[in-house]
Each structure stands twice: as C-alpha cells, then as structure tokens.
C-alpha cells in the first residue's frame, strides 16, 4: 500500500485537475468492503440458525395421545418409567410479553399481586410471610419478575429430590437449590438466603415441595399444563422441530371452550426422551405471550456440587423450618377460606376472585393467581409495597370503565375490578369475567 502514501490520490472534488478517471470507482469499491462484511455477517447470523431450525427433522409418526403419555409418564410420577429424563441440566430462555402495565407488575412483585399468572406467584411463606417479608430471597417476589421481559434460567435436576434453578441477572443471580429434605433460596444482590428444612422427600408431585414452585422450565410448565388441560383441549401433533439441537415433536394444544384469551399452546417434545424442550403460548388475538425454551440441554447427571449450598460468610440467613413449610405445602385449599380467594370455572376459563382491601391494610393483602396453564388459585401472601397505601385505588386507576367495574386488559390476562372492590382475574375474555362477577 506504499503507493498510497503520497499525493497520488485526487486532491479533491473541487480541483478536477489531474484526477484519475477511475478514482471515484475505486472509492466506491472500497466502500463496498465494509458493507459486504456487514452483509456477510448479517446473513451468516440470520440464515445459519434459520437453516438449522427450519430443517424439521424426519421422525416416525406418533399420535397426540402417545406424545402426551410420553410426556406425563416421563416426568414426575413414575421414577422407573421416566428414568431417562430424571437427570438433566441446561439453559432456559423465558420470554413473557403479557402487556401488563409496569405499575401492576411492580405491585405483583411485592407480593400483593392481583394478576398472578402461570403459577409464578407460588405459595411461599404462608403464616410465616412476615418473618421474611423483606427478604430479597423470598421466591414469590423474585420469581414474579418472570412475568415480564426476557430472562435466562439455568436449571439442573437429578431425580425428585434434587433441583437447582438459577435466575441469571445482570451482575446478580438468584438461586433455588433443593436437595433432599432441605432447600435454599439465595439472592446475590441483597446477600440474603432463606433456608427451608424438613421438606418431605420422594414426593416430587406434592404441591409446594420446592419453595417458589417454579414452573418456568419447559418441562414443568408442559407437564402441568397437559395434566390440567388435556380433557378440554384439542391436541394435535403439528410436525417436528429442532430445539437446543435436538429433534422434537411439536404438540399443538388449543382450547375447546370459548372464552379463553389463549389461542394456542405449542409444546416441543424431545423425540428421544419425551422431555418437553419448549413451550410457546399464543394469544387468541395473535402474538406470542409466553415462550420458554431450552437453548442447551444435557441429560447427563449434574455434578454433585450442584446441589450443595453453604451460606457464605456475612449473608443474612432466614430459617424456614418444616412446620411452616409443610402447612404451606398443603395450604392450597386451606388458604382459600381464610383469604376469601375463590376460583370459579375450570381449565381454560378459570377465574380467580378476591376482595381488595379498601384502604392499605398493613398485613397481608390477599392475592391470587390464575392461569390457563397451571394450577390456579394458590394464595400468596405479602405486604403491599410501602408506597402503595391504597391498592384498590391504584388497580382501579389502571383500568378502563366497563359494565360492572373497571377492566385492566392485557394480551391474555383480563382483570375486572368491580365497584365493590372485588377483583376477578383470568386468561379469559371480558364476558366470562362479567359472568363470574354476576354482572348483567
């Protein structure tokens, strides 16, 4: 390139003397180089994964029933039948786009939620809620963060008694580690841990076994969802797909009932192990509202150190002994009466209702969770955040007036707040909510 060192180049556009006629073309050619590099990179990045995922693998034909059996059998209830899928580890991307107003999300995250969804507002705390109310490691408040945006989870499981879920955050991490009869919740941001002891062993399907009750791995979400909704859904096999580099069947589940705002749920099921690798929910109005999928997965036994957790020096540890937690585990129904949380309808058209406190009550504003894809109506306790003196007014201010009250409408979750401060919520259309509320 030494020939370019001097003044061989044209002196400038306004000085045409001595301009070689091909200089302009050479410049144009050079400009093409970075453009070409960018274009090459863009096509390489866009096309290669597209090619990889578009090439639907050829798999033997199965019926929807066989697939559902494979999923449910390969999971929790029969250890020997599902031995192959008992151990796995991997990375899961969870994207949720419910269109929930940010204020409401903040409200939910502080444990006073009115629009819990997909079981993320798990039953934690129970009567002990006050004990670790301000703990950053409280699973309920932390996992409800999954209600919005994209998150990365690292999960590992080995048998019914060992699970670990790590929520990978910017410069922080939140961990749930379940090992035998004890479990830890760890929040790196606040350096706080909650220690659960005396858990029942060998009962993986017991509700509330793992604190926080994380359903956001594709596996758990799909198993629960299929178990709960199989009876009222049209289930078909919709081709094959590649997820995390593995061949999978696509199972399409559509509600048979009308009145649900969920249009379709697609579950990608690993052809070899029957492990659900991806769950995607689409609103009936169109658009993906929930997407949880493995980006990489391994069926090897994770290292034993995965299940070990020792609270680091200087961390604040909250003990959560057995009595409180076991009651919590069975507390699904017991909690209903005490907190005035009612569940009406079933499956796709489940509606959860509860009474909002008229003014800020210092302890335990009741809340409920509702969902088309998981067990509905687990009560979650907690305080309203300090700034929210009057949750009823806040919730109402977000809604638009409809017959019978105010409606907070999101892509899938609709919440009706009646004039007498009763909240009806569900992944259902407004008429279903109004019927549940008795509005003409």
């Amino acid at each position: 390139m030494t020939q370019h060192a001097g003044f061989e180049e044209p002196p400038g556009a306004d000085e045409p003397i001595g301009v070689p006629y091909r200089a302009g073309r050479r410049t144009a050619l050079r400009v093409m180089v970075p453009v070409a590099v960018a274009a090459l990179a863009a096509t390489g990045i866009a096309v290669v994964p597209a090619l990889a995922s578009d090439s639907a693998p050829a798999l033997p034909q199965v019926t929807a029933e066989q697939l559902v059996t494979k999923v449910l059998g390969g999971g929790t209830s029969q250890p020997e039948a599902g031995g192959r899928t008992q151990a796995l580890s991997g990375t899961v991307r969870v994207s949720t786009d419910l269109g929930v107003p940010a204020e409401l999300l903040a409200f939910v995250q502080h444990g006073g939620g009115a629009a819990g969804v997909a079981g993320t507002a798990g039953a934690a705390g129970g009567g002990q809620a006050k004990a670790h109310d301000d703990s950053g490691a409280d699973p309920t408040s932390r996992l409800s963060a999954l209600l919005g945006g994209s998150h990365t989870l690292r999960i590992a499981t080995d048998g019914p008694d060992r699970q670990r879920v790590s929520l990978v955050e910017d410069l922080a991490e939140y961990d749930l580690i379940h090992n035998g009869d004890q479990a830890w919740a760890w929040d790196s941001g606040s350096q706080q841990a909650v220690h659960y002891t005396g858990l029942r062993q060998g009962r993986p399907d017991a509700p509330g076994q793992l604190p926080g009750d994380v359903p956001d791995t594709p596996q758990q979400a799909a198993q629960r969802f299929l178990a709960d909704n199989a009876a009222n859904s049209d289930i078909t096999v919709a081709g094959t797909a590649r997820v995390a580099g593995r061949s999978a069947y696509q199972l399409s589940v559509k509600p048979r009932q009308s009145g649900s705002t969920i249009g379709e749920v697609k579950v990608a099921i690993d052809s070899a192990t029957g492990t659900p690798l991806a769950v995607t929910a689409t609103a009936s109005s169109g658009g993906t509202v929930f997407d949880s999928r493995f980006s990489d997965v391994s069926f090897d036994h994770p290292a034993a150190s995965t299940w070990q957790f020792t609270p680091p020096k200087g961390a604040k540890v909250t003990e959560q002994p057995a009595g409180a937690h076991q009651r919590d585990g069975q507390g699904g129904s017991a909690g209903h009466g005490g907190n005035d949380v009612k569940v009406t309808g079933q499956d796709w058209t489940t509606v959860v209702s509860f009474q909002l406190p008229a003014s800020g009550s210092p302890n335990g504003s009741p809340s409920g969770s509702s969902s088309g894809s998981s067990r509905a109506g687990q009560p979650a306790h907690g305080k309203a955040p300090r700034g929210l003196e009057n949750p009823a007014e806040l919730v109402k201010s977000l809604g638009k007036p409809v017959a019978g009250g105010r409606l907070i409408s999101t892509k899938v979750i609709n919440v009706l707040v009646t004039d007498d401060n009763r909240v009806y919520a569900g992944a259902v259309t407004l008429p279903v909510l109004q019927a549940a509320a008795g509005v003409k």
């Binding site: 030494t2 200089a23 606040s190 980006s295 020096k313």
Partner: protein, 299 residues
C-alpha cells in the same frame, strides 16, 4: 530429498535472504512502538488514566466513611457494593461495573477518536504518510495502540480497585454470585479474566472511534462523535420497544463480564460479547480502511 523439497528449499532461501516479511513486521513494530509512545507520553492520556485510577479510590473511601449506613441496604447503589465492606476484592468488581458504562468508553472514545483526526488537526498526518509506512499499516498501528490503551485503562481501574480495597477493607475468600465461596487465588484469576474481557469488550468501540476519526480532520469532532455515540447507544439499549435491535448494540453485553463470577461460569453472554466485538471490529475496521485509504490527506 525429493525434487519438490529441493525446489522449495531453493525457493525459500532467497525469500528469507531478501526478508520482505521481516521488513513488514519490523516496520509495523516500529510504527506501533512510536504510536504507543505517542499515546502514552501524552499528558492527556496520563490524566485520563489518573482519573480512571481515582474512581476506585473515591468509591472505596466513600464506602469506608459511610460503612454504618450501608449495612442492610441491599438494593440501590452500584452492584457488589454491599460486599465491599466485607471483602475488599469486590471493590475491583464494583469499580469495573461503575466504570464500564461511562468512564471507560469515554476515555477510549477520546483516544480512538483522536487517533487519525488528531494528527490531521495538528498537521502531522501528511508527514506520517510521507514515510513509506503505508496507510493500512498506520491504521493498524493506531488501532493496536488504542487497544493497548483499553488494556491500560482497564488495568488502571482494576489494580487501584484491588489496592484500595485491600488497604481499606479485609480481604478474604470471595463469594460468587451463585453463593459459592472460592479461594482468594481463584478470585484473582477470575479478576484477571474479567479485566481481559472488559478490555476486549471495548475493541468494537475502538474500531468505531477509529472510523469516525478518519471521517473528519477535527480531533475534537471525532472524540465528541465517538463519546456521543456511546451515550446514544446506551440510551437505545434501555428502550424496551427496541428489544429487537438491542442484541446488536455494542454496549449490550458489556456487563456480562459478571457471568465469570458465577459457578459454573456462564459463558453464553461473554461469548456473545466477544463475537459482537469481533463483528464491529471487522465492519468498522473495513470502513475505516475504505475511508482512510481513499481519502485525500490535506492536513
């Protein structure tokens, strides 16, 4: 010895004797050395590095004075701040996390933006090119010197963070983000790795700065343009409606260096970051070449 090998040996011998490759390499090294000296002998560069080094000292002293008030306050404030009082090593991580979004790119923007345009401003660019160095080699030398500054700037923050932290606070085993505790030795190893990742994270910005620097003859304009771009891109990175393009912004994965503090280490974000930086270097390096090699140098 076969005929082919003999021919090869015969062919290779005169090439080594003539040594054009060697000349290129040593020529580049000489150019790089002069660029390096030019960069680091400047009072301005020293002032930038000094300001970066002052940042951990400032944070450390403030935390030391305010220790009473910080206990129990988990949220708010820079990351890892709660741990600093218990373990001085965390001052390095806090300082890097604070410096990476603003201070580090600002200094890098100044150095990279000034690289070519500064020479044009002071009227020395044409003399540089009169020497038979070649424009590509000059550009490469400027780029490498700016990368060296990235490393120096990151080291300035990390080292003063480590020194200040160990002077002001107790030092011991480090608690990772995942709650695991690792020995001091391993944490220092991870710190070196993090510093390297942070320095390389800035290479995309260096390429952009160099490209902007070839666009103008005003050093100030190139610096302001580069630093302004960093600010704009970071603002874009926070707008939720732009989620589709955010993974392509060069600042998007900067803070993934903290993934090296997990157990097991979570590589996805870091690898994304390094890949993206390589892409930016390729595109903007090519753009800088396209502009600089066909530009008329009038200053």
């Amino acid at each position: 010895m076969s005929l082919v090998e003999a021919a090869e040996a015969a062919g290779a011998a005169p090439r080594v004797a003539a040594g054009p490759d060697r000349a290129t390499v040593s020529g580049f090294l000489a150019l790089f050395r002069s660029e390096l000296l030019l960069t680091f002998r400047r009072v301005r560069t020293m002032a930038l590095l000094g300001a970066l080094a002052a940042l951990p000292v400032l944070i450390g002293v403030v935390v030391k004075i305010e220790t009473g008030g910080l206990h129990g306050g988990g949220d708010g404030g820079p990351p890892f701040l709660a741990q600093v009082t218990q373990n001085g090593v965390f001052l390095t991580f806090t300082s890097l996390a604070v410096a990476l979004p603003i201070f580090l790119p600002m200094t890098v923007g100044v150095v990279a933006g000034d690289a070519v345009a500064g020479e044009a401003t002071s009227g020395t660019l044409r003399y540089l090119l009169v020497a038979p160095a070649g424009r590509i080699r000059l550009l490469a030398a400027k780029f490498t010197a700016a990368l060296a500054f990235c490393a120096a700037a990151t080291l300035a923050v990390a080292l003063t963070g480590l020194i200040t932290g160990s002077v002001l606070f107790p030092v011991g085993k480090v608690v990772l983000l995942s709650g695991d505790t690792v020995s001091l030795g391993e944490s220092l190893l991870r710190m070196v790795l993090i510093a390297a990742v942070v320095a390389v994270s800035l290479s995309g910005l260096v390429a952009i700065g160099l490209f902007i620097s070839t666009l103008t003859s005003s050093g100030i304009a190139a610096m302001a343009g580069t630093v302004g771009l960093v600010v704009i891109v970071q603002v874009l990175d926070t707008i939720p409606q732009l989620a589709a393009i955010q993974p392509w912004l060069f600042t998007h994965y900067w803070l993934t260096f903290a993934d090296l503090l997990r157990h097991p280490v979570y590589w996805d974000g870091v690898l994304h970051d390094l890949g993206l930086q390589a892409l930016y270097v390729a595109v903007f390096g090519a753009a800088a070449w396209a502009r600089f090699s066909s530009r008329d140098i009038t200053a």
